[in-house]
């Protein structure tokens, strides 16, 4: 939406609220809260301990400076700096101290007396303010009365959203392959996923329209879904990213069929562009400024959202640390109010240590500093992705081709087959086996490489064996010392493994380079053995 168009308020979408959400009452005690802190009123009402008795004088820490990671991969020093830091310890790192005192010297500063007190479920004011400002500048929601609300991470976020929107027995729309925790958290309530086929950009809009227009309530046993759960960037597990035209198509369909879009977007800032093979890479590096980098990121659904039907889930898990258990919703005020009710009787406000530390960190870094940090992170993940694919290229025979059919049409596909052992290569002529073991499309965002296994090339393969082979191979890999994610965990509708393909999800977010290299070696050894000499 162009800036000179006047933004509208969110439309009324309260008919999407579930029975549980509507039944949540405001505590009668909250009615009293309006009297608290009113000047001239003494309160003997609340059971809030005096901060004088908090046994904390201050929390302080060292935080990396926002420029800690290079924004270009052009020279080897910066591209490998994370490796050095790993082995060199913290001596080379530049940090700056942050301190949160019990009582602040200046009004409005972050302090423990406030952060460690009972608060409303809306969180620490300084943090909320930073988040609001950040969302307005980065995601630019398309309607005027959007709001944000802190939560304790996106798994908590989604589990609150699904109960706020869905009644038992309902279905929600998702990608054919998706984050299993999202599926497992709704399943106990009889709220089940319906998968939509994917392509190189994720959910297919034509398939979505087909699903909705042909929805047969009696055959499906439930009414047409009114909620969509989607991971549009660095999709978990497939690693694909959706661009604006597709988001626009899907948004329009959701307007037409009155669907709430839940945009789970933890990898938004880990967009890293396409993979370039090692030997071509040197020439492509260039440094970009932060504004240009931000502009290159695929816009969020909230930017297209002129009605207020998108609930966006952001988390600090991937950008600060998972143990912070801190994230936020961006959505329309009516839904935010119900999500707050769901929060205030359960997890309440997120931990005050984390809120104050992160608020202090972000306000010290400021908006520009945080953006710079995020840009540096995205480069670190790019380096990690490239390192893993390079390692696979060393251990397997990797062939590049253009995908022509199905979900990979138009993508650069890498197909891996066995490579002779290095010692054997030196001594005898050894034709590489051209039967592929697996293939993948390098991810352009996120943390994962999604492998499609070519189990049909396993000696003695019988059609229909794919599932058992997937678990057999997974076990062999685990026994050999490498743990990866079995594809079946990520299948949206697990009763319907019709495609009978095997998959694995490999994460490049955590392991060190030595581990990634060692894992690639083990992977190659186990796969060769598995494909050539199956039991």
């Amino acid at each position: 939406m162009s800036s000179f168009e006047k933004q509208q308020k969110a439309i009324d979408l309260s008919h999407h609220l579930s029975k549980v959400a509507l039944a949540r009452e405001t505590s009668p005690l909250k009615g009293l809260a309006r009297y608290f802190g009113r000047p001239g009123l003494i309160t003997l009402a609340g059971g809030t301990p005096s901060p004088d008795y908090f046994p904390f004088a201050a929390i302080s820490g060292d935080a990396l400076v926002p420029e800690s990671f290079a924004v270009s991969t052009s020279h080897s020093e910066s591209s490998l700096s994370w490796l050095w830091k790993l082995f060199g310890g913290s001596s080379k790192e530049k940090t700056s101290p942050i301190t949160i005192p019990k009582f602040s010297e200046h009004a409005g500063d972050v302090n423990l007396a406030t952060a460690l007190q009972y608060g409303t479920a809306t969180g620490l004011p300084q943090l909320s303010k930073f988040i609001n400002d950040f969302v307005g500048k980065i995601y630019q929601p398309g309607y005027s009365d959007w709001t944000t609300l802190v939560q304790t991470g996106n798994t908590d976020g989604w589990s609150r959203v699904v109960l706020t929107l869905c009644n038992p027995g309902e279905a929600f729309i998702t990608e054919d392959w998706t984050y299993p925790s999202a599926l497992a958290s709704s399943q106990p309530y009889g709220i089940h996923p319906v998968g939509v086929p994917m392509d190189s950009e994720g959910m297919r809009s034509d398939a979505l329209r087909k699903l909705l227009s042909e929805w047969d309530e009696s055959a499906r046993g439930c009414k047409r879904p009114h909620v969509m759960y989607t991971i549009p960037v660095g999709q978990n597990p497939t690693g694909v990213t959706m661009n604006v035209p597709r988001k626009k198509e899907i948004y329009d369909i959701c307007v037409e069929y009155d669907i709430i879009i839940v945009e789970d977007d933890p990898y938004y800032f880990l967009q890293m562009g396409s993979y370039v093979p090692k030997f071509e890479r040197a020439s492509q590096a260039s440094s970009v400024d932060s504004a240009k980098w931000l502009g290159s990121l695929s816009p969020s659904y909230v930017k297209l959202d002129y009605q207020g039907r998108v609930i966006r889930l952001d988390t600090f898990s991937k950008t600060i640390a998972p143990g912070a258990r801190l994230g936020f919703f961006t959505c329309n005020p009516r839904i935010a109010e119900r999500l707050e009710r769901a929060g205030e009787t359960s997890s309440q406000a997120p931990c005050g240590f984390g809120q104050s530390l992160i608020a202090q960190l972000l306000t010290t870094w400021q908006f520009e500093g945080y953006v710079r940090w995020l840009q540096g992170l995205s480069v670190q993940y790019k380096v990690r992705r490239d390192f893993l694919i390079d390692s696979l290229a060393e251990e397997f025979h990797l062939r590049m081709s253009l995908g022509t059919a199905g979900s990979r049409a138009g993508c650069i596909v890498y197909t891996a087959s066995g490579r002779p052992r290095r010692d054997a290569e030196m001594t005898e002529k050894f034709a590489s086996n051209d039967k592929p073991y697996f293939s993948f499309v390098p991810p352009s965002a996120g943390m994962f490489i999604w492998l499609k296994m070519h189990f049909e090339n396993v000696q003695g393969f019988r059609a229909g064996d794919e599932d058992t082979l997937e678990m057999k191979l997974w076990t062999k890999l685990a026994e050999a010392g490498v743990l990866i994610g079995p594809g079946r965990y990520f299948n949206a509708e697990d009763e319907d493994l019709g495609t009978a393909e095997g998959h694995f999800r490999i994460s490049f977010s955590f392991a060190s380079d030595t581990e990634l290299k060692k894992a690639a070696v083990i992977f190659a050894k186990v796969l060769r053995d598995f494909f050539e000499n199956p039991q």
Partner: protein, 490 residues
């Protein structure tokens, strides 16, 4: 250690609990934690070199003196402190990394050992196990969801901290109030409700939610005798007891004379739990700081398994910042358990001083009017003030008015108490009226011969705040009461 003789209580699970599967990704975390040699490329954990936080120092109160809370109070910023740092040695590095990563739903092993050591020191429950929570509100909601099927009836003190029961009501669990007096739940009333339960109304209540120490709002504490009776009723009627005990460490006037007690804190229901039917909920909110949002649940392994499954699929592992704190606070270079014990005793001594301060002011400024009285709370943060509403010139009895919930009330107590609340606010004081804590009875089934509206002539005051607040507030209460009872004009 006595072998566990827990009975199988899995029939108490709600349908959603039974239907809940394990979060498969958390299974992988468990496998990788159990074998450190494995290279895990399974989960989306950012590498710790990518976390911007490199060191965290918690500057906490020192417990070197005999009465650290008194020091804190008299010296303020100048009170002695000690620093718990998480970057100066290898061991704390590990703690910083582990706590900032994704983890197990139950919590970090180090943090769990900490709460286990607290449990061991204060309770006698060697076969129960613990999982961390994000404070009691989170703990209670999760336990209620684990046990509550739509249409179920649960039991609670008739005056109770209402947000918790309300959260379960959204999931169609209904509450049956149990009459309480100044000593908490009356066991005979509890038994009568269960014995006379009409099965046509629905499944007999199978869960009792209670706050045994310094009950919120009435301040009552269950005696050992009542605890034993309640536990025995729970055994006979197959009840699960949710023992929500945030004020456990704030027990006053205690001596070590209580039979069977290994320390001078009241014997918890957990310590009596031979069957495994007590789920105990503890919190650091009242003894450290509420904004920490950290607590723990103690239960049998059977309940633990299901709680952890639910945690893994919702809030996940508790935040690292709180787990680092309690691990290092009770660790070898922190307070240790002995320092923790000193802190909670020093804290309760201070609360006791403030309780006594409030009560002495109350005697002079309020009780002296003859218009209100209060019992001495044995624990907690609250004084439950009985207003002698029958002395009001406009008090009416012998009515037969139908209240909003359908009960027939005999007095205009509710209306007068609402007026009194407004009069307090007009006079510059906010108190909690009893009405906000009421668990409503169902007149179609419950005994409402003495309806709660006629017995809601109470207000809750607190001594959790400072002496200044108490000194300013209590005289207002006395003054407002006098004016309110003197002026019959509506």
């Amino acid at each position: 250690m006595a072998p566990s003789s827990f009975v199988d209580l899995t029939h108490h699970f709600s349908p959603e609990t039974i239907a809940r599967k394990t979060n498969p990704l958390k299974d992988i975390i468990r496998i990788s934690l159990s074998n450190p040699q494995l290279i895990s490329l399974a989960n989306g954990d950012p590498h710790h070199s990518l976390y911007p936080i490199r060191r965290i120092d918690y500057e906490v109160a020192s417990v070197s003196s005999e009465d650290p809370v008194a020091d804190l109070k008299s010296l303020g910023d100048a009170a002695p402190t000690q620093v718990l740092s998480t970057s100066h040695d290898v061991d704390s590095q590990r703690l910083l990394k582990a706590s900032l990563q994704y983890g197990h739903g139950a919590g970090l092993a180090d943090a769990l050992r900490t709460v286990d050591s607290i449990n061991k020191a204060y309770h006698d429950a060697p076969n129960h196990v613990t999982t961390m929570t994000l404070g009691n509100a989170d703990g209670i909601t999760k336990v209620l969801r684990m046990l509550g099927a739509p249409g179920d009836y649960f039991l609670a003190d008739e005056f109770t901290f209402s947000p918790m029961p309300l959260a379960a009501e959204a999931h169609d669990v209904k509450w049956v109030p149990v009459r309480i007096d100044s000593g908490g739940i009356v066991p005979e009333v509890l038994e009568r409700i269960l014995a006379s339960w009409n099965p046509e109304r629905g499944r007999r209540p199978h869960v009792l939610y209670t706050v045994p120490c310094g009950q919120n709002p009435t301040g009552s504490t269950l005696s050992l005798e009542r605890r034993k009776k309640i536990y025995e009723i729970a055994q006979r009627y197959d009840l699960i007891i949710i023992e929500d005990d945030p004020y456990y460490f704030l027990q006053y006037d205690r001596t070590r004379s209580e039979p069977g007690a290994s320390n001078d804190f009241a014997r918890s229901l957990l310590s009596m739990d031979t069957d495994g039917r007590v789920i105990r909920i503890d919190s650091f909110s009242k003894i450290m700081a509420p904004g920490m949002r950290l607590g723990w649940i103690t239960s049998t392994p059977a309940f633990y398994d299901y709680l952890v499954k639910y945690i893994d699929l919702s809030t996940q592992n508790p935040h690292g910042f709180g787990q680092i704190l309690i691990t290092s606070l009770l660790g070898p270079s922190g307070w240790q358990l002995s320092g923790f014990d000193k802190w909670v005793r020093s804290l309760r001594a201070d609360y006791q001083r403030r309780r006594d301060f409030l009560l002495s002011l109350f005697a002079r400024e309020v009780a002296a009017t003859g218009l209100a009285s209060a019992d001495v709370p044995e624990a907690g943060m609250f004084v439950w003030v009985r207003v002698h509403v029958a002395k009001h010139p406009r008090f009416r009895s012998g009515l037969a008015a139908r209240a909003a919930d359908g009960t027939v009330v005999r007095t205009n107590t509710a209306a007068l108490m609402a007026e009194l609340f407004d009069a307090c606010v007009a006079g510059g004081l906010v108190i909690c009226p009893a009405s906000v804590f009421v668990i409503r009875a169902d007149p179609a089934h419950d005994d409402v011969s003495d309806p709660i509206d006629d017995r809601s002539n109470f207000i809750r005051t607190t001594f959790a705040g400072s002496e200044e607040t108490i000194a300013a507030g209590i005289p207002i209460l006395g003054r407002v009461l006098k004016e309110f009872f003197a002026s019959p004009a509506a």
